[in-house]
């Protein structure tokens, strides 16, 4: 490992998965009542749905996000660990 993690990178240099996590936090998808559909997340983040689904699947596996089905649509929001991971950037 080099020194690449020694400095906080700019948003457009962050891995897309972390960038997505940060964006979900900042747009307010932090609990089930504020969860968003793939389409809504895509509109905010300008990321395409297939890429979003890949990242969201990984974030859910890692315990940083969770999804549930509402009105036959999957909706997503961060978990408490996901929120803490984002806030660690700025504290």
């Amino acid at each position: 490992m080099g020194e690449s993690n020694s400095f906080r990178s700019q948003p457009d240099e962050q891995p897309n998965q972390l960038r997505l996590l940060i964006m979900l936090h900042n747009i307010g998808a932090t609990e089930s009542s504020k969860s968003l559909t793939i389409q809504q997340i895509s509109e905010w983040t300008r990321m395409e749905a297939p890429e979003l689904q890949t990242h969201l699947k990984k974030l859910i596996e890692q315990g940083y996000a969770q999804s549930f089905r509402s009105d036959e649509t999957d909706k997503y929001h961060l978990t408490v660990d996901g929120i803490r991971k984002v806030l660690s950037l700025y504290s």
């Binding site: 690449s4 400095f7 940060i22 408490v80 660990d81 803490r84 991971k85 806030l87 700025y90």
Partner: protein, 387 residues
């Protein structure tokens, strides 16, 4: 005295040390018969108002968002301001106390609106956290920090090294800054812990060593250097197990570092742990390593001292004021895996000396770091600005 406190972190919204600091200080102020109204952000599962040991806690819900972090900060400050506006009509505050730049916009607004003095506690700086100013956001945060210190009537920091840092970096007048160290509630750490059960839970068997590292998984905590020290430690102590407690944005990078170390099966990342679980682990560990590269204070070292685990820490920032080398712990060089391995070896190779260190550490802790003392010193600062 009636104190209005603003902070973006307050339990259960615990990210770093700010939440614990605000909780300890607020409760101690209430115990000394001051009135504390604390304004903070919401967190899943928390009420928008509650009283915690007499501290009136108001949580603001951020109803609007934006992908950009700084824009989001401005937005939550608006909602924090709105939450506070509900209260200021019925409470005549003597002083506003703002913690870090994140709540500064709201605090500065109320300072001018209410014509009340503002005290700012600087817990860390952007230039320190990011080890430089490498992005437009960092430059902007650095500017907000300067602005908040300029607007504040007095500035509080938790260590002499932080005072040196902010006076140097922001050209702040030396006489405007007060140093008040952090503290912990030592009684909380004096609980009976079943060490065997805790160690077993983390896969540490009888006769094996438990080497612990607790901190947010971010570069400033230097955990990468601890991981790089593990092969050397494992060579000398093949029975050692390594537990890394905390969550943070660089977790993926650190886990990759652990895989590359060749010792991955001995390394465990626990993620975020509750206060009680941290106490359990510290009480059960053989060594606590604090490998920070930037540390305004280093409250984790105090927590370790309170539980009686020998502490091996980088000689940086506030840590260099908390620990006395070879008397209450061991210092190692920052960013230096060989030095960390040396420190761990000093503890593990001489258990009697390690025990002596922990007894000295506990003694120092009780004398120097209590919330009662922190609250009294903070009130002295309030009195300077209230007049």
């Amino acid at each position: 005295m009636k104190v209005g406190t603003l902070t973006w972190e307050f339990p259960p919204r615990v990210v770093g040390g700010i939440a614990r600091h605000c909780e300890g200080l607020a409760k101690a102020l209430v115990q000394q018969n001051h009135e504390v109204h604390l304004f903070t952000l919401d967190f899943p599962g928390s009420p928008n108002y509650e009283e915690m040991d007499g501290v009136k806690v108001y949580r603001a819900s951020t109803e609007l968002g934006h992908p950009n972090f700084l824009t989001w900060v401005l937005m939550f400050n608006h909602f924090l301001t709105k939450r506070m506006a509900d209260v200021v009509h019925s409470v005549d505050f003597d002083v506003m106390h703002v913690h870090d730049w994140l709540a500064a916009f709201s605090g500065i607004s109320f300072k001018h609106y209410l014509k009340k003095p503002m005290v700012l506690t600087v817990h860390s700086t952007e230039v320190g956290r990011a080890q430089g100013l490498h992005s437009p956001d960092s430059f902007s945060i650095n500017g907000i920090e300067w602005w908040a210190m300029y607007e504040a009537d007095r500035v509080i920091v938790c260590s002499q090294s932080m005072k040196n840092e902010i006076c140097d970096h922001f050209n702040l007048p030396w006489e405007k800054v007060d140093v008040i160290p952090n503290a912990i509630d030592a009684a909380k750490y004096q609980t009976s812990v079943d060490r065997g059960a805790v160690r077993q839970r983390y896969g540490v068997g009888w006769g094996e060593k438990l080497i612990l590292c607790v901190g947010r998984l971010v570069p400033q905590k230097g955990i990468e250097y601890f991981i790089r020290a593990i092969p050397s430690i494992a060579k000398r102590y093949p029975e050692a197990k390594f537990v890394i407690v905390g969550e943070g944005w660089s977790r993926d990078i650190l886990e990759a570092e652990a895989r590359a170390s060749g010792q991955n099966r001995k390394i465990q990342f626990t993620g975020f742990a509750s206060d009680q679980e941290v106490i359990n682990l510290m009480s059960s560990a053989d060594v606590l390593v604090v490998p920070s590269v930037y540390e305004p204070f280093g409250i984790v070292a105090l927590e370790g001292m309170a539980t009686g685990v020998p502490v091996v820490a980088s000689k940086v920032g506030g840590l260099s004021e908390v620990i006395e080398h070879d008397r209450t712990g061991f210092f190692v060089f920052p960013k230096n895996p060989e030095s960390i391995a040396w420190g761990v070896d000093r503890v593990l190779s001489d258990p009697d000396h390690a025990k002596w260190l922990t007894e000295n550490a506990k003694d120092k802790l009780h004398k120097a770091y209590s919330w009662e003392a922190v609250a009294m010193k903070t009130v002295e600062v309030y009195r300077k600005v209230v007049g």
